[in-house]
Symmetry: C2
């Protein structure tokens, strides 16, 4: 009997787990979920006789290894750094492996061993990376088949709050890893425009935005997303003149977030002396010049060259950066750790809040001497703070991939990502039936 082993039942697991339980019940498969936290809410709500729940920790291999024996597919929803531990065990126990995370160097290095064992390690099966690859490659392969030559590829994605639950001046709530929200963009940004390679340091990133409209949702701003050049090889774009990936926010978010970058609040490289006994106001003041009487508000506005009543200062004030609320830390922490606590509190997705995922691709290409642009976009809204659009778009493609594999519909082996038809076609088709639908427009340029 086919048996799926799932590691982790965190923030983005609801749809994945429920989809696979449903399929398992139909097909007489079994599912085992391994989770560290015994108070996990999602697991407590599950009832199924195909399901077994094991509470255990991946860092204890003796406990974990026996679970991998005779498993048809292993799924990891754990933090990316833990995948490699499971991946090694999968090779050992001849189990196929599925994740929604980037293929890092460690994973890539397993490639030969995975192929030699006739295994499939399919990664980047979530939203971004995941649905972005699949939806883009479907259009790219089609245009290429029709004889088109690409001039530019721009792709945008954002995890946001749905308009109906949007009740704060940042137009933002946290729907994925709060730590990743804090450190987003750290490192250098690279892209290519009109055959020129372009580089942006972290501390200019949130001032290099562009505006764009998503039909039906209105205006967004996008800041460049990490190394767009990483997408040249998997998309076979060696000679494309323009390639750019961006992250979507509602207009005004980035210039206010940049204030926190400029102050130094997103730095995770050192610990602030005495921060456990600080107020949030003291924390903010740690980054401002000393003065015996000038207020933190005025020093902040002055330092950032902003009006005292600017949108940016109003946003910082709403976040509580000037409040005398004690941080109450157990021990001294880094700026990034402290900022995470602040935003987790203020940008919390409330139980009945709906989140929203937005994706937009722009494909510019030359076909029979005519320059054309295809705009392809998708958005999904969540139902509440557990059945989020984020959980849906990260979990469903992964779940569908596992199902297709167990049904014998995916036969490739190796360390792969879903950039090829055998995988993206059936997944995108099924996602459409589940409400994750791309709309396409084409225009002459």
């Amino acid at each position: 009997v086919k048996h799926i082993l799932i590691f982790g039942a965190g923030r983005s697991s609801w749809f994945l787990i429920n989809y696979l339980i449903n399929e398992a019940e139909k097909s007489n498969w079994k599912i085992t979920i391994v989770e560290r936290n015994k108070d996990n809410e999602i697991l407590q709500s599950l009832k199924s006789n195909v399901l077994e729940i094991v509470y255990g920790d991946v860092s204890n291999p003796k406990e974990i290894e026996p679970l991998l024996v005779d498993k048809s597919a292993v799924v990891s929803l754990l933090p990316p750094s833990l995948h490699i531990i499971i991946a090694e065990m999968c090779i050992d126990k001849k189990a196929h492996f599925f994740t929604a995370s980037y293929v890092n160097d460690e994973m890539q290095k397993l490639s030969e061993r995975v192929e030699a064992s006739n295994l499939l390690f399919l990664n980047e099966l979530g939203l971004d990376p995941g649905i972005d690859h699949m939806s883009a490659m479907r259009v790219i392969d089609r245009v290429r088949e029709e004889g088109g030559e690409f001039l530019g590829f721009e792709s945008f994605c954002g995890g946001l709050v749905a308009p109906e639950s949007d009740n704060n001046p940042w137009n933002y709530k946290i729907t994925w890893s709060p730590r990743n929200v804090v450190v987003a963009g750290q490192g250098v940004v690279k892209f290519k425009q009109e055959n020129q390679f372009k580089y942006i340091p972290y501390y200019r990133l949130f001032r290099r935005t562009e505006r764009l409209v998503v039909p039906g949702l209105g205006e967004f701003e996008a800041y460049p997303n990490r190394d767009s050049l990483d997408y040249i090889n998997p998309y076979n774009f060696a000679s494309i003149p323009t390639i750019f990936r961006g992250t979507l926010r509602k207009p005004g978010f980035c210039r206010a977030w940049d204030c926190m970058v400029q102050l130094g609040l997103t730095d995770d490289s050192y610990i602030i002396e005495g921060s456990r006994n600080m107020t949030i106001r003291d924390f903010t003041n740690s980054f401002l010049f000393y003065h015996p009487t000038d207020s933190v508000e005025l020093k902040t506005a002055f330092y950032l060259k902003l009006d005292r009543d600017s949108d940016e200062i109003m946003k910082l004030q709403w976040l509580g950066l000037f409040d005398s609320t004690p941080l109450n830390l157990e021990k001294d922490a880094s700026p990034a750790q402290i900022l995470q606590l602040i935003i987790e509190d203020k940008w919390k997705l409330e139980k009945t809040d709906k989140d929203m995922v937005v994706m937009l691709h722009l494909f510019d290409y030359m076909m029979n001497g005519v320059k054309k642009r295809i705009k392809s976009y998708m958005y999904v809204k969540g139902e509440d703070s557990i059945k989020t659009a984020m959980a849906k778009t990260v979990g469903l493609p992964l779940a569908i991939a596992v199902k297709l594999f167990l049904q014998g519909k995916i036969r490739s082996t190796g360390v792969l990502i879903p950039n090829f038809k055998e995988v993206y076609d059936p997944i995108l088709d099924e996602l459409e039936t589940l409400g994750i639908v791309f709309t396409e427009n084409e225009e002459k340029l």
Copy 2:
């Protein structure tokens, strides 16, 4: 017979080598210098029958180890990362060791073994670190003996070009490691002011300057220098309300250098695609938004929110950042590597140029209920591009320390820095006779 082994005869070695040869001739000591580069100019000019020159590479231990046998003192002028190799050999061969570099964690960890072997590893014997410790600790110890209690310690140092050789709009030429000029300030800056810990991210550093006057030399600006909190322990300043270290430049330098930071030119974390075939103008343009016709000059001024004829843009222009000069690289390089090539060329200290080293300490303290400030300052000018003030102030304290040690006047053991009287008193006294003189003023606050 006493025998000194010196590694490296680079940029700051002239005074050290000549001082020690002179002492060796007087006292019948021997000197061996190990240098990698057979074309070394400084070595070619030396003649002495106490001197032996060996051309060899520290990365080849078989070649190097025999040289350490029966040496009374070993001096390393090599790049700091190489000290540890020599330090290990010194323990092995029971040789005492002297450097002008910071004690890093690796060196500190040798402490027990060094003490167990009754050896002295004396570090931080240059200018900064070096003369700064010695000159500050002499005042600090004296004030403490007299019953003073410290309220604040601020210390400033700069390696600059002397006014008579200052003929560029940056008022700056390179007198030490050009790579360190490029990456100066990277990492986070920490200090303490009126009992508040303060933190500045790299990308705001060069806009957080203060102005100060050095008597006889006029006005300077200072930007905060790395982690001033590192000086709390060695100076026994656990409860001092204010501690700050700064780097001196001529006014206007920092805000122009900040332009290069803001563009991203100082980043050493990645390689620019295709940079080997770029012009300097292309290089600058890599960091600016794409436009088919807008000029690099205008885009730069716009991006930095500067007037087209501002001092900052004039300084960038003088450096050649808008020139269509080919970079002519052997292979693609990082922004920092490319910027280094540009400034090495433009900020070169010419053969007859004189450099200048400036140091200034401010000690605030309470004595018998009265608040007082001691200002202690020093400056030295170089003679030419080899006999620089930098080489003098880095090399002489190290040379004097070695001499004093060989004369039996320093008897401490362990991994140490010159923050104690046995070392700083005789060195500072002798430096005075060599023209490195601190002037002190005291005032009530």
